[in-house]
Symmetry: D2
Subunit: 403 residues, 4 copies
């Protein structure tokens, strides 16, 4: 299907496999950018977003910086300026181009970035052709997961830019929306107690999913599917956006300042609500899971519904229940949990250690994976995180309650 | 001693007792403001702070609004405009004067606020003279704890204003610094496991300390006393404020934007470091616990020291160990825990329910109580909270480690 | 009458006279502040405004700095800190307290400022008791004119603060509005040609009124009285505030950003329009000259009326016609002229040279003098100046046309 | 020569001539953009600037909107969305895309804009093929002058974007700097008196150059050439940027906030000063006229030099003296004159009337024309205008004095 984003990444260790996976993930990035013009790829519509061209180059720089420089002694750097231009935030590696100015980089061109990608890909394929030591495999797998994260950002950032355009173009041609669960929403009872949370060490995981550890949960109930657009319309019609007692104090201020009266990318037209999506502007499907809501909105909605957001431990515990639906493939699901380190967490040494740890304040954790998340990229232990006022990602919610 | 702030509040239930406590707490507020001129009491030095006069009036309004209106049918309102002027943030109660404009309230005068206090105090003493129903006792006790919180804020807000003045006046005449622990700092080993956290329902507690519940703790080590100014000077001399890899990403940005190179209220002079305190500018005591550091700084310091901040559950667990020192009376101690609801938390009904719940995002929890906290106000389960960039409170830290 | 502000200042040169005038002007400042509490005098309601206490102290510092230090060798400085606190903007004199923080100066108290005034006044009266050299007379006269400017600012700044207060107190007790001209407005034809503009050197004038010089004027028509509130209501009802083609581009943006839909201090109530003035809130007098309009609004109104603002040369030329009415005593009248130096202008040497010259960009010139301008302070050649978006002064307009 | 920008525009009236001129000016725009990639043309590096693609489309829209719609009844609109996208600021014409978001317009593509230009050019050439009525000629001439203004902006805006790029690319290949005057600078004495200022109605002129009128000038002296980089270096070495008494109050604040320590686009390197120009980064030529200085800087420099900026009337009067040098072709020359209407000025009717009049506040007038001004575009009466803090244009100064 055209709309399948990404390719399942199963790093089972052999050199042959990692090389094939490398090619597959790298090609997927190019497929996602294929319908974007050079101009589309250059634009940065807000400081939170990056240009598509930058995503394509930065993910390439990651392999050049961390794999080729360290492991391919005869590798010839593509362009010495690119380290400065395409480093994202690794203080350990050196100075870098300021993030809010990424949209000023009309040069190197999209075509030059394609050449950069080809240059690095060729060197990587040579490097991965023979026997590959474990440390390098781990690095490449990390690089591929990193690239898959940027694949999702490439889509959401481009959607943000196109949603500002009066022409409302589509980001991906041939896009179709994912099928969602049918029938009523049920609240599933869960017993709580001591549960094990975090990655068990099988397969790839980011450092922030570890160490696996115990948490004590009170018994709780959690919805077996996501909140829908129809639910959100009821919240809107009941004055949800105008009722401060439903909101966190910071949240109501954000809603007022942002002029929020509906989820992001909604357009009120004479013939009803429409929403801007990867395929362009389309009539709002009331049965579909709501998306482009901030944590503040999700939290207020839950309070209005007499419920609450689940904690991330509850979400991960519930994920072991096969009756749960829409756990992935639709929206990242806001949880009640701020993004902090797990007990015993230690960041990796060196630049890689900057990947997750230094963002562990002021952000809220999301679980699940969205329609824009590459297949195979997520796990039940996967922790995504955004500031509570952000709405440009595919973000929604499921409800929970104390039973 | 002059510098003892507050009076131990032991609401043991009888009508007689509550009336006496009422008088005691109310008088203490006036004592704290006694050395302030009418002009001093009017100033608001930043949106986070409130004028001393406002604190005096707002705490009075609390009793008028929640106790006298509901329980004293013959009570005559002092001034109908005061509800609008001195409501802090209770959306349920009605509109209110905008917080950043509190410093514009030159009228009512400090003298009029004194009259307001006397008027309400007289009515309250009448109300509390006879038998008092439990609901009212609970409300008055809440009001007294509320007033004690504002007693601390009155001091810290006034200190902030005076620290901007070229004259650096003292906030409290006769102030002396509290005595601190002597001897080396020891790391105390704690076994972890399932621990009970939160208030057990004996005596007064805020809703955010409840319900008491279980958490599972990994074993850990925690310092038996606070980080000192000498420790902080070593961090500074080692380039702590200039080393981004020690900091949260948001924290380093805050330090750069704020031009932070030392804790708050430090002054570099030819003869060494001085610090502005309640008694005015004084030479820095290197052996005293460091104060006026933000969470961002505390977190960076801990990383520099090869340690971390304790979680609030660890802090509360450790508080059961009599060997712990400086747990209260010096600084509020930043923890690693964002301020969120405990499992099963439900805000109180009505306006009182806005007291704590709507602030449960974006803030970090502090434990312990400071030199400005009224005696008897805090408990081991007490949860204070501030944004991670704030430094105008008496805030410091103790270290923890995974063992 | 109580509401007469200021005292006619006729510095005719003799030592006796200058001493008497000194006493008269200095007393007038104290009279204007007499109904203000210590708290009222401390507040700064926006960075453009200064506290009343600051005005009282700054005008005193002017005499201490420029007259007593230079001419009274045995003068004992009142407080060495006051130079830093009460210098306004004289770079030549040394560093100074930042303007937006003037409201933080709860100390020195209003009472201490009274003592400061008494101390300086006594020294000045001694200095002026005997024969006085011309240079000193000139300096004192400048200081008295300076103080009269601050008398007006004291009123307008206090009005701004009180207009933010929910209590809307009156600034001056016993205030009555000035009587205005009756009958229709006539457009007076003026022939233009070469006219002499600027001060002729008789009596006191600021450096910016000089040198007197020639300008060539085209013939023009100018209204013999001011635009009234009734005129302004017609502009509002005709959608004036919503019609961008009537406005300067910067002006319409300012109106939108400021949410302007009427002149400053207007309140729409069920019983019609009211306006906040020195005497408190009062029903709007539709026949009175409009006030508290910015240059942007005045310019848009004039365009709407098929007219324009007069240039300052036209205004000064027209002022020689005895048939002109309301030339002073009501509002400062916006002109079409940006505030720039006259041909041949040279700023005075030393600190006094900073008085006017360094503000000669980005501001528009006003002529006439307002109801808050001390009697005798203004002349036809007098040039006032404010940024085009300011509305807290008593500012209005008269119309002009090309004939 | 490659670096000649623009083509002399001599609208002498015949239909044949206007058609040829149309082709010539339109082609020149394309030549200026020829070395820019599609990405280069899309970027907007600050709200003051516009993308090159936008300049190319907006100038085309001008002809479509004002010439073809009104005069070519069978003209088929290229795309109905373009009116919204490429209207700059004409309120009369309808709503428009917000200026700061022009850089988000990745679509229509640069290629589509080329098609738009070809479509409109073909229709215009058909329209201008036969006899052309005078009103249309006037409109086309206005459109061509409008396009020449945007040719200069295309260069300066692109230079601003490229100056932010770490790669510092050149805007125009084959660029060479203009030759400047040799020998010492002389102060030319001018007698003043009544002079005629403004356009005399011969040939094209903008409405703001009219009506021609009389001004009375005092005698003055004016430099016969521009201030050089060597002069500016002396100002810098003398602490000019750190001496507040040399500056307007607003100017010094702007210099401090902007961190200005040299003119724009200067780079301090180990081997001396370099400057970014249309040809890329090059060593600073100390004998060349200084450029990229704001009015604030020019004003401060003149004061430091014991001189002042000329008024625009002086400049225009001096322009009649054949001994004056470097009056055009190097930098726009800041004058002492705020940009205001001439006596008797009336804006044109309709949308064209928004061209100049609504910007007549807060800006300073510049005279002369720069190295980026198309040949034949300027006249001695030509009035350019920018805010006093702007430095991204080719702006410099010549000195004047009262004699």
């Amino acid at each position: 299907m055209d709309q399948v984003i990404g390719a399942r990444l199963c790093p089972d260790g052999g050199a042959r496999t990692i090389r094939e996976q490398f090619v597959q993930v790298r090609n997927e990035t190019e497929r996602l950018a294929a319908s974007l013009s050079a101009e589309d790829q250059c634009v940065q519509s807000m400081p939170d977003a990056s240009p598509a061209k930058w995503h394509r180059a930065h993910t390439t720089w990651f392999f050049e910086q961390f794999a080729l420089r360290a492991h391919a002694p005869r590798y010839r750097e593509f362009d010495p300026a690119f380290g400065f231009l395409f480093n994202s935030y690794y203080e350990t590696v050196g100075p870098r181009h300021p993030r809010p100015s990424r949209g000023l980089l009309t040069r190197p061109s999209a075509a030059a970035v394609s050449q950069y990608r080809a240059h690095v890909d060729a060197a990587m394929q040579t490097l991965l052709a023979g026997p590959v030591e474990t440390g390098l495999v781990d690095l490449v797998v990390l690089g591929l997961h990193h690239e898959q994260q940027h694949q999702e950002l490439l889509l959401t950032d481009m959607l943000h830019a196109f949603a500002q355009s009066p022409l409302l173009p589509s980001v991906l041609s041939g896009w179709t929306e994912p099928a969602y669960a049918q029938g009523p929403t049920r609240m599933m009872q869960r017993p709580g107690g001591i549960v094990a949370i975090g990655n068990d060490g099988e397969g790839f995981a980011f450092d922030n999913e570890q160490p696996r550890h115990h948490e004590y949960l009170r018994s709780y109930a959690i919805a077996d599917r996501l909140v829908r657009n129809a639910d959100w319309l009821a919240f809107m019609e009941d004055g949800g956006y105008r009722t401060p007692t439903l909101w966190m104090s910071d949240g109501f201020a954000a809603a007022q300042n942002g002029g929020w009266t509906s989820p992001g990318y909604w357009h009120a037209r004479d013939d009803g609500w429409w929403q801007m999506g990867p395929g362009g502007l389309a009539p709002l499907d009331k049965d579909a899971p709501v998306r482009h809501v901030s944590w503040y909105e999700a939290d207020a909605f839950a309070r209005w519904a007499g419920a609450r957001l689940p904690t991330e431990a509850e979400w991960e515990d519930a994920a072991t229940d096969p009756e749960m639906r829409e756990m992935t493939g639709h929206v990242w699901q806001w949880t009640a949990s701020p993004y902090v380190a797990y007990p015993g967490f230690a960041a990796a040494a060196g630049a890689i250690g900057e990947y997750n740890g230094k963002f562990m304040v002021n952000q809220m954790t999301l679980r699940g994976g969205s329609l824009a998340t590459p297949a195979g990229h997520v796990r039940p232990s996967y922790r995504n995180f955004f500031y509570p006022d952000k709405r440009w990602q595919f973000t929604g919610l499921r409800l929970a309650r104390w039973d």
